[in-house]
Structures are given as C-alpha cells and as structure tokens.
C-alpha cells in the first residue's frame, strides 16, 4: 500500500517492542494471547482425548490434574481476561472516541510487559512439572498439601494482575478525558460503555485476587496460618477472598464480548440498536451487582443459611441486565436490513450460546438445585457456554469485524462463514452433553469416571475435534489474508463508528484532523458518507487503491 499507516510507519523490532502506539501494542497483545490460547487449547485437547475411556488411557492422574489446572490458569488469566480489552479495546477505543491514543501510552506498553513477565512465571510453572490445585487454588490443598509448582504460578498471576489494573486505569481516564468534540457520553459506541464497565471491575477487583494468592504463597513459603486450621486459620476465608474477585472476573471476560456484539448487530442490520441507554446501563448494572454475588460458589461449604439466601437472591438479580441485553439485541433485528456476513454469524452464535449459558446460571443460582449440581459437569458446561460460546465467539467475531480496519485486508468470506458455523456446531456437541453428565452426577475434575458416563464423554470429545477445526481455520486464513487478502478500503461493511472514518489501516496518529461528532451512534439514516444511496455498491472502493 502506497500511503503511510501505523504498520509501515517505522520498521524494525525496536519500533515494535518500544512502541507507544496503541494500535501496535494491540498487535503485540494479539500475538501473546494467541500463544496462551494455543497452550490452553493443547491442554484441553489432551483432557478430552484422555476422557474418551472411563479409565482414561492418555495420562496419569497426576498429569491429568495438572492439565485441567493449567488449562484453567492459561485460559482465564492469560487469554480470556486480556483478550478483548487488550487487543480490540486497545486498538479501537481511541479511534472510537476520536483520540490520537490512550491517555497513558507508555503505561499501555508497560501493561503488556507486565503481562509478559507474569506469563513467563506461569510458563515456568507449567514447564517445571505444572500445577495441580485447580485454577481455584482452594486451601489448604494449595497452601499446604500440593507438591506442585504453586509458588511460581501465584507469582505469575499476581504480577499479571497489575497489567489488568493499568489497562483499566488507562481506559477509564481515556474515556473521561479524551473524547473528541461532540462525542458525548450517550453518543459513545456501546463497545466503549462495555469497556468502561469492565475497567471498573478490573480496578476494584484485581487487588483482591492479588492479595488472596499472595497469602497462599506466603502460607506455603513461611508456614503461616491464614488458611491452615491446625494453626487457627480458616480454609473458607480463602474462598471468600478468591471469589470476591473471581466472580466479577467472569464479567471482565463477558462484558467486552457483549460490547462487540452491540457493535456488530446494528452494523449488519443497518439500523440503530434497540434500547441504547438500557444496554449501556445494563453494562454498569452488571459490573456493580456482580460484586455482590460471589458466595454463590459456596452454597455447600456450610456457609450460613442467611448468606446463602442473600447470595442466591442477588445472583438472580444480576441475571436481569443480561436478559435485557439479549432482548434488545434481538429487537434490533426487527425491521432491519440483515446480511449474512461472518461477523453477524458470530454475533448470532454468541446470542444463542450466551442464552444457554446465562439461562443455566439460573439453575445454579437456585439453592435447592445447586446442592445437586454444584461441582458437577453441569457447572463446567455452564461456564464454557459463557466463556467460550460467549466471550471467545465475541472475540473471534470482533477480530473478523475489525480485521479490515486493523490490517487493511479482507479475509475470505466463504471460508470464514464455514468456519463460524463449524465452531457453533462443534461447540454445542462438545458442551451440551456435559449438562446431562452433570445432572446424572458426574463430578468435575475427574480423571476417571463410572462406565455409564462414557457415551456422553465420547460425544463431547467428538465435538471438541470439530471445535478445534473451527478455531484452526480462522488462525490460518486470517494469517493468510494479512498478505494475500483483498484490500479492504476505509469502510467495507459499512459501519457507523468513528473508527471507520479513517483509513484501513489507520495512520499512526489515527485521524489527520480531529473529528467533530454531530451524529448519533448507529444512525444509518443521516450518514450520506456511508455511501448507501440507491444504486451505489455496498462495498465502497478503497481510497488510493492503485
């Protein structure tokens, strides 16, 4: 491409490793989180192959326990939590609000380096025999009895937490102070609202997991008695501390994905989103109420009945804002002008899978039902529906939607649609049988199981092989498209956000002239610049495409 953009403005490894350009930092993140996704995915593959037979033929019990632990740690702390915010959020938030960069560009780079250091500790833990405590690190197993590499892992997660906190801080200050003229709060894209809510959780919650894991590390190293009953400690204290962060953490993982969906649906239905202020408000409501439900993970620990009643009640409340989003997204399709483009397939897939995942949360929040399904495969299915069917589909859908802006290239559409459908089918086959396994009584974290559970396990593993294909295809064709994909043009869809009013890929300073915003979000009626006039082709030609 003849003109200068952020990709070709400067060359050399130093210009990437010492960049303060939010767009380049986003690509650094893309590389790193993809590596951890691959590692976590490898562990998942081994788990599902091992579970093909009731007695398990692939690995020893010790290894299996390390596999599911490391799968959880890699996927949650080093893939899901950063993914959308650090890749898409970093790239897009300044563009979406009309700014040149985030408020603190160097802190942005620092955030990535902190993640890399934390990641190295985690990889060291994986490489030196691994971790076998479960990603939940329950005490006293993790603080006293486990013989695995707990200390490096908790150090890695502790360090990584600061990466989250700094990113959240950066986003909040940016959104408050760097919006272009005319970009009022209620003209912000819902993606930005979602990241604002996520950032609140990152800042308020992450310190608590840091302290919780620090205490585990200290107890291990110095035989202190925070959680050890023999020294007067309480194992349940750890669970309160741990879940106080880790429940809001699931909202860190899903709110950004919801933000992505709120961008994709109006774009490919070509009409404003239904209920903008309700969707914006629901993101904040989820962030706030989400801090008050943590002990629904502890209904059978012997916690007080009054606590259990309170947390069950609040857990039902937190479901309502999510339901509001689903209804509003669905209503956005009404009287739209809808196309089948790949991002839309991902968005609809998200709605379907998040619907199942979210609704099954209602089963788990139900006290009388939880005493049966707690710690069974029902829970495993529930959170994978939300984390994978929801958050990961939102991430991959978002990558597709903004791929032209990030790389200036289009991916092969037909192949992309096939991959999206493959992902959806493979996902359901993998995880739906697990709901049934759970109600039948198969506990989670089991390397061996009674033979009557085999058929469902085989179905699940078969689904996983299809799911793997659904992930592999985009990895391949997206990489291919960076060099051989069709040149995209400024606004191929077209979409209404500010990010689409600059070149693809954007210049380093994002906008040649600071934009002045005079239009409402997702307004397809009053945007002649989108080129949607009678007779005009829907794919606007790229500027300077010679």
């Amino acid at each position: 491409m003849p003109h200068e953009d952020y990709l070709n403005a400067t060359y050399g490894i130093r210009s990437w490793l010492l960049t303060t350009d939010h767009k380049r930092i986003a690509l650094l993140w893309l590389g790193s989180v993809t590596v951890f996704f691959f590692i976590g995915g490898l562990f998942a593959t081994m788990i599902r192959i091992h579970l093909l037979t009731p007695t398990g033929y692939l690995v020893t019990p010790e290894t299996y326990n390390r596999l599911f632990t490391m799968h959880g740690v890699a996927m949650i702390f080093f893939f899901l939590i950063p993914s959308i915010p650090a890749v898409l959020g970093n790239f897009l938030i300044p563009l979406m609000i009309g700014a040149k960069d985030l408020a603190f560009p160097r802190i942005n780079l620092l955030s990535w380096y902190i993640y890399m250091i934390g990641g190295c500790f985690a990889l060291y833990s994986f490489a030196t025999g691994g971790l076998d405590t479960g990603w939940t690190f329950y005490t006293p197993l993790s603080s006293i009895y486990s013989n695995s590499a707990v200390t490096p892992a908790v150090i890695g997660i502790f360090i990584n937490g600061f990466s989250s906190i700094l990113t959240g801080l950066n986003f909040i200050v940016t959104i408050h102070t760097m919006r272009a003229p005319g970009m009022t709060w209620f003209r912000l894209p819902l993606f930005v609202w979602a990241h604002y809510a996520t950032s609140l959780i990152m800042i308020l919650g992450t310190p608590v997991i840091a302290i919780s894991l620090l205490l585990v590390g200290l107890e291990r190293m110095f035989h202190l008695g925070f959680f050890n009953p023999a020294l007067g400690g309480d194992p349940i204290l750890f669970q309160h501390l741990f879940w106080f962060y880790s429940h809001p953490a699931v909202y860190i993982m899903v709110l950004p994905a919801m933000g992505v969906i709120s961008e994709i649906i109006p774009t490919f239905a070509r009409r404003p989103i239904f209920g903008y202020s309700f969707i914006a408000g629901s993101s904040i409501a989820i962030a706030v109420i989400g801090f008050f439900v943590w002990a629904h993970h502890m209904f059978v620990t012997g916690e007080s009945v009054y606590a259990a009643l309170t947390f069950s009640f609040l857990s039902y409340l937190v479901a309502i804002p999510s339901a509001v989003k689903v209804f509003n997204w669905t209503s956005t399709l009404y009287k739209g002008s809808i196309s089948w483009d790949t991002p839309m397939i991902y968005a609809l897939g998200f709605i379907g899978l998040f619907l199942i995942g979210g609704l099954t949360g209602l089963f788990l929040a139900c006290l009388g039902l939880d005493i049966h399904i707690h710690d069974t495969y029902f829970v495993v299915a529930h959170f994978h529906y939300i984390m994978v069917g929801g958050a990961v589909m939102g991430y991959v859908g978002g990558l597709h939607f903004w791929w032209p802006k990030i790389t200036g290239r289009l991916y092969p559409e037909a192949l992309a649609r096939i991959a999206a459908v493959t992902l959806f089918v493979g996902f359901n086959l993998t995880f739906f049988p697990q709901f049934i396994l759970g109600y039948l009584g198969m506990p989670r974290r089991y390397h061996t199981y009674p033979p009557e559970f085999q058929v469902l396990n085989v179905l699940s593993t078969a689904g996983a092989s299809i799911l793997a294909l659904g992930y592999l295809l985009p990895m391949l064709y997206l990489t291919w498209s960076m060099r051989y994909g069709k040149v995209a043009g400024q606004n191929p869809w077209p979409a209404t956000g500010l990010e689409w009013k600059t070149d693809s890929p954007p210049p380093t300073e994002n906008f040649d002239v600071t934009p002045v915003v005079t239009w409402e979000p997702y307004d397809f009626q009053n945007r002649p610049d989108l080129g949607l006039t009678a007779g005009a082709p829907s794919l606007a030609p790229a500027h300077g495409d010679d």
Binding site: I338, F363, P443
Partner: protein, 327 residues
C-alpha cells in the same frame, strides 16, 4: 419411585423428587425463553433479510414499556425460582431432631463412616430406608465433599470444623457416592457406595458384627480417662471444670453472659480451643488438645459426652443456663 426426568439418576431420597421437580420447573421456563428468542431471531433473520445492497433498516430506537416488561416478567420468574429453591435448601440445612447420626471422615483419598454402634465402614455407607439420617462430616486434611447423586445432596467436608447434612433414604438399593471437591491426586477414585436397606435388614446388618470395642461411646469413655479429662470434669460438679452430665443439647451460660447451645461443634471447639468460650463461674485453665487428638478420637469423645445426656445433672457445678431447655 421411577425417575420422571429423563437423564437423571434414581430418586432414592426424600429430596430427590423435590430437586427433580425444581429442575423441571426451571427447565421449562428457560426452554420457553430460549425457544422464543431463537425463534424471533430466525424469523427476523429471514423476514428482514437484506433485499438490495443499499437497503437500510427502520430506525426504531427503543420502547420503554417493552423494556419494563422484559425486566419485570423475568424478575418475577426469577423470584419464583429463587423462592422454591430456597424452601428446599432451608429444609436441607435444618436436620429434623430425630436423626440417625453417622460420623463420616474424609481424608486423602478415602472415606471412613462410623455407624452409631461403632461399626466402621470404608468407602461404604449403609443406611436404613425411611429413617432421617444425619451425617456429621469431618476432614483430616483438605476440603472434600460427600455427594450422593441418587439422593440429590452434597456437602463440603472442611478441615477445622464440622458440616452436617441430612436425608431420608426412600428406595433400597446401591448408589454411587463421589468426592465432589477436588482434593488432589486421587480425587476421582475417592468414592464408594451407599447401600440403602430395609430397616429390618439394616438392623440385622448393624448387629451382625461385634462392634462392642469399636463402640465410639466406649472408646470415648476410655479416652476421657486416659487424657485426664475426668480429673477436672467431675460428674458430681465438684471439680475445677463443669460436670458434663446433661450438657449435650442444653443451653450453657458463658462468662460474658451469653448462652450457647452445646452441640457437636461446641464440644469440638471446647476441646481444641478451650478459651474461646468460658462457662460462667469457671476459670480459663483448660489446656488445649489441639494436635493431640485425631478427628476420630474427637468424635469418640463427642459420642461419649452425648451419652451423658441422660445422666443426673448436679444441682451446682453444671454450667447449664438457669432456664434449661433441652433439644
């Protein structure tokens, strides 16, 4: 009772039908919403498919009444789910007074159950149908969980304190139980079988083996003497410590004026952390036995102290609160 839900275990306890009914209720509500939303998406997708490349949709921004409706209706349904679940759970967390008590100890990686007459089982639990059974759960090491899918109940087993769970088996048979809180290497094989027997069969099985020496009350009495508890806790109330006759289940008056019911947890705490609660009128001189007794020994002492419930309570030196209310 045959199970009514597809894909569910046998119903073998009083809780099972309630849990299955609750499952059906929530499934139907969620299925309704899932189908409604999916149908709407599919219908809209085809009805409003883009017909020409430049077509745009109709700019409908929102509808506050619709928003209110789809917040209020789900909220009402959610409260129904919460309410029914709460009723079942509150019942589950409050064992009735007339239970058959069985002590269960979980440790890496096996279960030991102790029947009321002292008969011990490893990775097995025999219970009579039609009786309310209460399990008193203790852990020797990490957190475990005792889960019986056919009963639809589970409870964590936490080191450092007791948890209790109760159920009434309803259908004779053999049912899986599983450890249901990850506890290390052999978590997945730390399970066994619950055998529900007709009451007559259970009684026969129970007396079938000579559990005399293994009787926890007898073992506890021996320990009570061996560990010199008897030197202070004199039965007639003349010792340095309160008599333990009649104390189990009674309200004890503490030095700070409050009262506490002397249940298993109180007895255990008094042995391990004697200064946590001082009985009114007594000095804090009891040494702690933390680290000197295994969980089984504590359970034996508890069983012995429970057996003193029917012993004559001395007029002075009992520590029981003036308004005596037995459970």
């Amino acid at each position: 009772m045959q199970s009514q839900l597809p894909f569910s275990p046998d119903q073998a306890s009083n809780f099972a039908p309630h849990v299955d009914d609750l499952m059906l209720f929530i499934t139907l509500i969620c299925l309704f919403f899932a189908v409604a939303v999916t149908a709407a998406i599919i219908i809209f997708f085809f009805k409003f498919h883009r017909k020409s490349p430049d077509e745009v949709g109709v700019p409908i921004h929102g509808d506050s009444r619709l928003e209110a409706a789809w917040m209020i209706v789900p909220l009402i349904l959610a409260m129904a789910m919460f309410g029914w679940g709460a009723v079942v759970y509150v019942d589950y967390r409050h064992a009735p007074p007339d239970t058959l008590d069985i002590y269960v100890i979980g440790k890496q990686w096996m279960w030991k159950a102790q029947q009321p007459n002292g008969l011990r089982e490893i990775n097995e639990l025999h219970v009579p149908a039609g009786r309310n059974v209460r399990l008193i759960l203790a852990s020797e090491d990490v957190i475990h969980d005792f889960f019986v899918p056919a009963f639809r109940v589970k409870m964590d087993v936490v080191p450092g304190h007791y948890n209790t769970m109760w159920f009434r088996p309803t259908k004779p048979g053999r049912y899986h139980f599983f450890c249901s809180q990850y506890c290390g290497t052999n978590h997945a094989i730390m399970g066994g079988w619950v055998t529900v027997m007709e009451p007559a069969d259970y009684a026969a099985w129970l007396s079938g083996s000579s559990g005399a020496e293994a009787n926890p009350v007898v073992a506890g009495e021996k320990l009570f003497a061996e560990k010199a508890c008897v030197t202070c806790h004199v039965a007639n109330g003349t010792g340095r410590a309160p008599s333990l006759n009649g104390v189990y289940g009674a309200k004890v008056l503490l030095a700070d004026g409050s009262t506490v019911v002397a249940d298993e947890a109180y007895i255990r705490e008094s042995i391990l952390l004697p200064n946590a609660k001082i009985v009114a009128g007594y000095q804090p001189v009891m040494p702690t036995f933390q680290g000197q007794l295994t969980e089984e020994q504590i359970l034996s002492l508890t069983a012995y102290i429970k057996s003193l419930q029917s012993q004559p309570v001395p007029a002075t030196g009992a520590g029981i609160a003036p308004t005596t209310e037995k459970r």
